[in-house]
Each structure stands twice: as C-alpha cells, then as structure tokens.
C-alpha cells in the first residue's frame, strides 16, 4: 500500500494517463479506476487528483469537455490528446525499462557480481 507521499514523482500523472486511456470519463471515474486496477495499492487523497488533472490539462496531454453522466448530472469528461497518447507510450516504456533495470539490480546476488 502506497500513500501519496510514497509515490515517485510523476507516478500519479502516469496512473492518471493510464486510467483515462482505459476510458475513465470524469475525475471520480479516474479515481475509481486507479483504485480498481491497482487493487487498492495506491491510495491517494481524493482531492489531490484534481490539481494533477489540471496540471496535465495545462500541459496539453489531457483535454476536457463537459457532458452528462449516467445519472443525468453535468460532469467534466477527460480524454487523452494525441500528445497525451504519445506521452503515455513513452512513459510506459520508460517505466518498464526502469522497473526491469531496478528488478535486475535488486535481484542480483553476491555470486553474480
């Protein structure tokens, strides 16, 4: 279980991008999605999501528009921009390489050095 302070910088952004790419429409949905796919491993204070969403939108990787939710309420929907899709691919690659490298390093035994 990680709380927001433990998350590596940039990780929250990547989680959000991933959640949005999986079709999570609004801020609340993004939070649910992160909880669901991480099986509760990441617990972010819910409000902290929004400054991150705004930041990503400001950077031009997310776009937003107002729509109507399933229960007929106005909600703000997010989607990836083309720049966002590219960013997600790149960061996923980077993250995987880093994770693999970290795993290799951490798996090393004295005999292999």
């Amino acid at each position: 279980m990680f709380n927001s302070a433990d998350i590596l910088p940039g990780t929250l952004d990547l989680l959000i991008l991933k959640a949005v790419s999986l079709g999570s429409p609004h801020g609340f949905g993004v939070m649910l999605r992160i909880q669901q796919i991480s099986k509760g491993a990441f617990e972010v204070e819910q409000g902290a999501l929004y400054p991150a969403l705004y930041r990503l939108e400001e950077k031009g990787v997310l776009a937003s528009e107002w729509g109507v939710s399933e229960n007929n309420r106005r909600a703000k929907y997010y989607r990836l921009t083309r720049k966002g899709e590219k960013r997600l691919r790149e960061q996923t690659d980077t993250w995987n390489r880093l994770a693999a490298a970290m795993a290799t390093v951490l798996d090393a035994r004295p005999s292999e050095v």
Partner: protein, 884 residues
C-alpha cells in the same frame, strides 16, 4: 500577444473558475452516492465523502495555482476580476476614470506641447537633437542679437565640429494667386537649407549651392506643400512656373514635403527664397556684404558626438578672431549656441516660461485627481472589507490582495491614460486658440504626440496606478481575520484611521488647489498690470497699418512720392487728427535698425563698442504716436536730404552718453555720419512692455529712407470704420497696392503680451479644474462621513440636539479640513510662487490680494461642498437611525 489570445485567456479563465467548483462538487456527491448504496445513511455518507476528499479549498487553490503557473493566468484573473468589480460599480468607475482622464490628459497635453514646441519642433527634420540655435551676443547685454551674413560665411568656413550652419530669416509677402490675395509668411534661407535639414522636396529640388550669393541674382522659390495643394490646386506641372513675390517674378523650383513647416516655432512657412534675394524681402537694403548689418537667424547642426560645449568653444574662438579682424563692426561681439528649446528668436522663447510652469501645474492636477480617485477607492475598500477578509481566510496572501488592488488601479489608470491621450490629441492645437493671428496669418503651434510623449504618459499612468493601488492596499494591513464577519460598527462623524487617511487626502487637495488659485491670481494681476503699463506712447486713438511698397516694386523716388501723397490724403480724412510714417512700429516682430555710435566727449570702456538701436520716423511722429518731447523740437519737413542730418535721442541715451549735459546741439555719429541732436524724447518701450529703459534714438525718414514703413494714424475713429476710407485712398493712388491690417496700438501691445495671456488662461483653467476636483473630494468625504454615522447623529438628536447643532457639527468638521488645507496651501504657495519668476510683472509673489481671493474662493467652494451633507445630517430620523 494578440488581442484574440488575450480575450480567449480571459474567457477561459472565467469558465475554469466556475467549473472548478462544479467539478469538485460532482466528485463528492458521486462518492456520497456510492457510500449510500453500500448502506451508509445520507448525512453520514456526505460527511465521509467530504472527509475522504480532503481540504477542498486547498485543492481549489492548487488548481488555480496550476493555471497561474502556466502562462499569465494570475494577472489575467486579476484583470478579469478587476474589470468585473469596476463594471459592478459603474458610477464609481466612470467618476474615477473621468478624474484620471482629466489628470493624465492635462499631463499628456502639456507633454505634447513641450515636445512639439520646445524639444522636437520640426518633426520633418532628421536628427533634431543635433540642431542648435545660433545668435550673436553683444558684450554687456543680455539680449541676443541677429548675425550678419559675412560672419555666417566665416563660421561656415572655419568650424570643423559643425556639420552645417543654416540661415533663416522670417519674412512675409502678399501672395496674389488667381484673384485672391493673402498675406503669407516665408523664410529667407541659405542655399544649403533643405539639404542640411534632410528635407527633400517632393517635386523639383531644393536650392543649389551658390544660389544664395549675388545681389538679387537667383529669383527662385520653394513653396510649401500646403501652398501647393491649396493655392495651386496640387498642379503637378508647377515646377518652372513663376510667381510674383514682392514684385519680383520668382521661378518655383520645388515643393516641400507635407509636414514640413519650416524652422520657425509659431508659424507655418509658405515659401522659401535664397538669401541672394534678401534685398527684395528685407527693409534696409543690400546686406550680404555688410558685416555690421545683423539680420539673420541661424541654426547649427553639430557633427555626431559633438557636444554643445565643444562646438561653442570652437565658435567662440572664431568670433574672437572676427572681433580682432573687424573691430569696427565686431568689437565686443560673440556668438552663442542655444539648445532648440531656448531658441531666442522664435516663439519657443516666449512660451518657455509658460510651459515650465504648466509642467508643475499639471503635476498638481494629477495629484488632486489621484487623491479624488484614492478617496473613492477607500470608500469602496471599506465596502469590500468583507470580501478581502474572506479571500484572506481561504488562503490568499496579502501580496495577492495587494496585487489585485494594484491591478484594479492599473485598469482605472489605463482607461484614464487612454482618455487622457485622446484629450491631448484634441488639445494639440489649443495653444493657437489663445494666440491672436498676426498680420492676417494664423499661428502654428501644434503639440507633438510621439513615442517620447507616449512613454512619459505611460509613466504618469504607472505612478497613478501605484498611488491608486497602494492607498486601499494600506488598508489590508488592518484586516483581521477573527473579526471577519463582525459588522463595521458605526463610528463618530469622521473618526478612525480610515477617516484620517481620507481627510489627509482632502487636505492635500485643498492645499494644492489653493496654490494653483494663488498662482492664477498672481498671473492675472501681472497680465492686468502689463496691459495697463503705459508703454510710453498712446495705445488708444492711434491706429497702425502699412502699405507694402516693396511688394509692388516701387523704387525709392516713387515710394517717397507715394508716401507724401498718401499722407496728405489720410490727413485730410474726416476724424483724422494726424498721421505719420515710421519704419518700425514698437512692440512688433521685426528688428529696429542698429548702429555703432560715437559721441563727442564720451569714451567707451575698452573692449566695448556702443551699439544703439534707432527708428526712422516722419516729421509728425511724436505728436501722432504720443511720445512727449522733454526738450528740443520734433523733426519737420525741412529735415530732408539737403539739410544737416539730425537725430532725437531718448532720456536714457541722453543720460548715458552725455551724462547730465544737455545733448541738444551736440553730435552723434551714426553709421559713419555725424548727426546733430535736436531733441530729447521721453523713454518708451520698444521690443516688449517689460523691458527696462534702454538707449534709443530717432532719425528722420527723409534723411534715412526706408521703403516699407508703417503708417501711424491718430484718430478717434475705430479701425473698422477707417479701413474702408484708407483702402479707397490707397487705391486712388495705385490700384495694385494692398493695405495691411489696421490695428490699434493697444492691439499691438496685447499681441506682444500674449504669452502672459496663455499662461493666465491655462493656469486659471487648470486651477478651476483643481478646485472642482477638490470640492468633489470634500463633498465625497463629508457625505460619506454623514452616511456612516447616522446612528450617532440620531442619538444626538434623540438627546436633544437641534438640526442647527448637527448642521454646525458637520459644517465645522468640513471647514476644519478646508482650513488645514488652506494653511498647508498657503505655506506651499509662499515658498513656491517665486518660481513664476519671469511671468510675474510688478506683482509680489506674496501679493495679499491673490492670497486673499484664493482663500475666499476656496472657502466658498467648500461651504458649498459641505452644505449638502450637513443638510442631509439634519434630516436624520432619530427613530430609524437608532432602530437600524
């Protein structure tokens, strides 16, 4: 940044601010709904949803901060918010912007005049910063003199630090084109004039080297764009055509570009002729080879990087050499360079003191306007105390609030500046309205709104912004969060810190207005005294006009004959007491003849050549113009070419050169000719009403012929009445001659004092404006104080105060402010009215009448301003005041 982008930014920010709230609320209610579905009761679900969400205001501020961090959202948000606040209080905003428009507009207008008249008077001329005026100086005299043509040629040959010397001399002619004759002004110039100024004619050419030499050898002219377009209807074939100027056919060789008005502040030149044509346009004969004939005005364009001091040294050295080489004409003579704004020979010089004073006056007006707006802002910041406290409570820093207030100040100041520039643009030609046309030609004194004026106005706007923003910002210091929602308790009339600041502003306004009114009073009295000062000759009952024989091409004998005949006819007109010619009318623009003199028995100090100016006048001159003779006799018809040359000296000349002896019967040498002194005339004024008495003498016209003299007529008839008769007599002699405008000598005096009139008018107008603003300020403070203390007033009434008590209470409070303002104002005025210096004439800077009337005017204005609030105080309903 394009306007569209800015608008989009503003607009988007608005959407985000509104939607942020909605988005977060959506999240919380969805979470609450989830919790409810899992069985949590509604109230508990909402509570937990909020708790899980965390500090909502904190996150909102973070979201805003995100926006702010990217781009200029913070500033735009402030701007947008500021606009909204101002939009919501249109009365406040319009009043503030109006005050600032007047304040900044007055500044911008004066800046544009200073720029267009003093610093950049010739917009079409390249590199004006290297252009300097050039005059002669006579040792021991403060007034500069003209230069002679040979001296100019020597300067041109000898100076290495100067790019070029440019000669110009204003002249005039009557232009008859088609069937319309009109007086127009022109310049006699050196051949390098257009090239040296970097002005390229749009048609034809400028003058060619050598066209300024040879006696009347080059009858060519360059005409102005206005003349070409107006009088010649833009004729594209104009080059090579001829135009009669002063009776001589001139070939038009060029048309100057639009926007080039010559190089004489005050007049738009219509034509230029080369100096070789001097004799045709100048009285006093051929002067191109006469080193003693000083008639030209000149400019020097320095080489890049040369300072005025360096060039002055070099020029002084040349003058020193000329002094040694030509002692007869140049002893005691030097040559001086002047910055353009001090040019002594055109209207830059006459308007300089006025404009200097105006620069100070408009700062006063700006301060008063800012104080007014500051007061309005204070009232509003009081109303916004609640808003400010709430914003602080939700985490906006004090810096943030100050930034918001300064932004609002900036919006007001920017609107004021825009309005002010518009005002200045409209007022560009306002100065001319205050100056009468002379000789039928309107003056030309445009303000110039260039980048320097714009930059200065922007600076003024910024200062205003800071003043406006910081006054309410000071108030944020005493915002206290705990007392956030406590209602402001009703105080005693005008008590407390805030009232203190507001009162301070009003005291400042009153004192500044007082200073301006004292200044206006002093200037008004000066003007009256100048106009009432006897110039030493009769100003009423004497008319002055002229007939230009030079323009008609008369030679000397013919002109002489004409003058005699015309005089006989004019003297025979009913109502005419006497009439006489004189070469120069006193106080008119033009140069008297001047000469080095020698007097039997007078030994001038070494290094000094006494030079005295004189006028050539007819036999009846003194009786006609009303200058009394102290002793001796007038000229008479017997003083002609065949008899002994004679002269009449004035008292100062008699005292200076004959030291108490009776000069009558003594000799004076004038231009090498010995003349016998036959009379002593009373001193009078020659160039300006304000001048101190100086030596001057008169010689008979008959012995010193001049072709273009002015006609003085003593009559009780008005100028309008006599003009028709005069024109008839002139036409009876020669149909082709035109009569110049007929004016009284009083009109001549008034024209010569018009700079004082300009100063009086401008200071009075701005003083009145300041008074109005101050009265509005006082009214605002008092009526606000009354509206804030209805509870106290009601209480007093309930305890038995009568309406007259309350009236006195409020009035006395208002008048205390006025009194403090007057005391401060009087102190400032006593210390500063000396600065009016040159503009004051025979008036003490501490003149009690001016101080008294300023006191009276301010007191009346403040009584009026306080009365309405005081009266309203007496209408307080004690029951309602106490219940509310």
């Amino acid at each position: 940044m394009s306007a569209a982008f800015l608008l989009d930014r503003l607009f988007r920010r608005e959407r985000i601010e509104d939607s942020l709230e909605e988005e977060l609320r959506f999240h919380i209610s969805e979470r609450a709904a989830d919790l409810q579905r899992s069985g949590v009761p509604l109230v508990e679900a909402e509570r937990r949803a909020k708790l899980e969400f965390g500090g909502i205001e904190n996150y909102k501020e973070q979201c805003r901060e995100t926006r702010r961090f990217h781009g200029m959202h913070g500033f735009f948000a402030d701007l947008r918010f500021g606009c909204r606040m101002l939009w919501r209080n249109p009365g406040f905003s319009i009043l503030s912007i109006l005050c600032l428009t007047l304040g900044i507009g007055a500044n911008a207008a004066v800046f544009s005049w200073v720029e267009g008249i003093l610093f950049r008077p010739y917009p079409a001329v390249a590199h004006q910063e290297r252009l300097f005026a050039l005059t002669g100086m006579a040792r021991g005299e403060a007034e500069p003199t003209d230069l002679s043509w040979p001296d100019f040629l020597d300067l041109q040959r000898s100076c290495t630090l100067v790019d070029s010397f440019i000669v110009t001399k204003i002249t005039g002619t009557t232009l008859s084109i088609g069937d319309r004759a009109e007086v127009s002004t022109g310049s006699i110039v050196s051949a390098n004039y257009f090239d040296a100024l970097g002005v390229h004619p749009i048609l034809g050419r400028g003058f060619e080297p050598g066209e300024d030499s040879g006696r009347s050898a080059h009858p060519v002219t360059v005409i102005s764009y206005q003349l070409w377009e107006g009088r010649f209807k833009g004729d594209p074939q104009i080059i090579g055509k001829t135009q009669r100027l002063n009776g001589v056919l001139h070939t038009i060789v060029g048309v100057a570009p639009a926007g080039f008005y010559g190089t004489f502040v005050g007049w738009a030149m219509q034509f230029w002729v080369p100096a070789s044509m001097e004799e045709i346009f100048e009285a006093g004969g051929y002067k191109l080879e006469d080193r003693g004939g000083r008639w030209i005005e000149a400019y020097a364009r320095l080489k890049p990087g040369v300072t005025r001091e360096q060039a002055q040294q070099e020029i002084a050295a040349v003058a020193k050499r000329l002094e040694k080489d030509y002692p007869d004409t140049n002893r005691g003579r030097s040559i001086k360079l002047w910055p353009l704004w001090q040019t002594p020979f055109n209207n830059a010089n006459t308007l300089l003191p006025t404009l200097e004073i105006m620069l100070a006056v408009v700062v006063f007006v700006l301060l008063i306007a800012c104080a007014n707006v500051g007061n309005l802002l204070l009232v509003r910041s009081f109303a916004r105390r609640h808003e400010m406290t709430v914003r602080m409570a939700v985490g906006a820093g004090r810096g943030r609030l100050v930034r918001q207030l300064v932004t609002e100040g900036l919006i007001l100041a920017a609107c004021g500046a825009a309005g002010g520039l518009l005002l200045a643009h409209w007022c560009r030609h306002a100065l001319v309205l205050l100056l009468p046309a002379r000789g039928g030609v309107a003056m030309h004194l445009p303000g110039e709104i260039d980048w320097r004026v714009l930059a200065l106005s922007a600076g003024v706007c910024l200062i205003a912004t800071l003043l406006l923003g910081l006054i309410p910002a000071m108030q944020t210091r005493d915002l206290d969060l705990a007392g956030a929602l406590k209602a402001e308790s009703a105080g005693v009339v005008g008590s407390g810190r805030r009232a203190w600041v507001r009162s301070g502003l009003v005291v400042m306004q009153v004192s500044l207005s007082f200073v301006l009114l004292v200044g206006a009073g002093l200037l008004l009295q000066s003007l009256q005294r100048i106009r009432n000062t006897s110039p030493g000759f009769s100003t009423h009952d004497v008319l002055e006009t002229s007939v230009n024989l030079v323009q008609a091409g008369y030679d000397a004998p013919r002109a002489q004959n004409f003058q005699d005949q015309l005089l006989d006819r004019v003297r025979a007109l009913p109502g005419v007491e006497s009439a006489e010619f004189a070469r120069m009318t006193p106080l008119s623009y033009g140069s008297f003849s001047s000469t080095p003199i020698a007097v039997d028995g007078y030994q001038p100090p070494p290094e000094e050549q006494p030079i005295v100016q004189y006028n050539e006048v007819g036999p009846d001159y003194f009786a006609t113009i009303g200058i009394p003779l102290m002793s001796g006799r007038e000229f008479n018809r017997a003083d002609d070419e065949k008899s002994v040359p004679v002269a009449i000296v004035n008292e100062t000349m008699a005292a200076k050169y004959w030291g108490g002896r009776n000069p009558i019967g003594e000799r004076v040498q004038v231009k090498g000719r010995w003349m016998q002194v036959v009379g002593v005339a009373k001193d009078s004024r020659y160039h300006s009403v304000r001048e101190t008495p100086k030596p001057f003498f008169y010689v008979p016209l008959r012995q010193n012929f001049a072709r273009g003299p002015g006609l003085n007529i003593r009559t009780r008839l008005s100028a309008e009445t006599i003009t028709a008769a005069l024109t008839r007599e002139v036409h009876a002699l020669d149909r082709n001659l035109a009569l110049f405008e007929v004016i009284t000598l009083q009109e001549q005096v008034d024209r010569s004092t018009s700079p004082q009139l300009v100063a009086v008018t401008l200071v009075s107008v701005l003083g009145g404006l300041a008074l109005l603003l101050a009265a509005i300020g006082l009214y605002g403070v008092m009526s606000y104080a009354v509206s804030q203390s209805t509870r106290e007033l009601g209480l007093r009434m309930a305890l038995g105060a009568t309406p007259s008590h309350l009236l006195r209470l409020v009035m006395s409070r208002g008048l205390t402010l006025t009194a403090s303002g007057i005391v401060c104002g009087a102190a400032v005025a006593l210390a500063s009215t000396r600065l009016l210096g040159y503009l004051l004439y025979n008036v003490s800077p501490r003149d009690p009448l001016s101080f008294g009337s300023a006191f009276l005017v301010i007191t009346i204005a403040s009584l009026a301003a306080c009365f309405l609030p005081a009266w309203r105080a007496t209408r307080t309903d004690p029951l309602r005041a106490l219940r509310d």
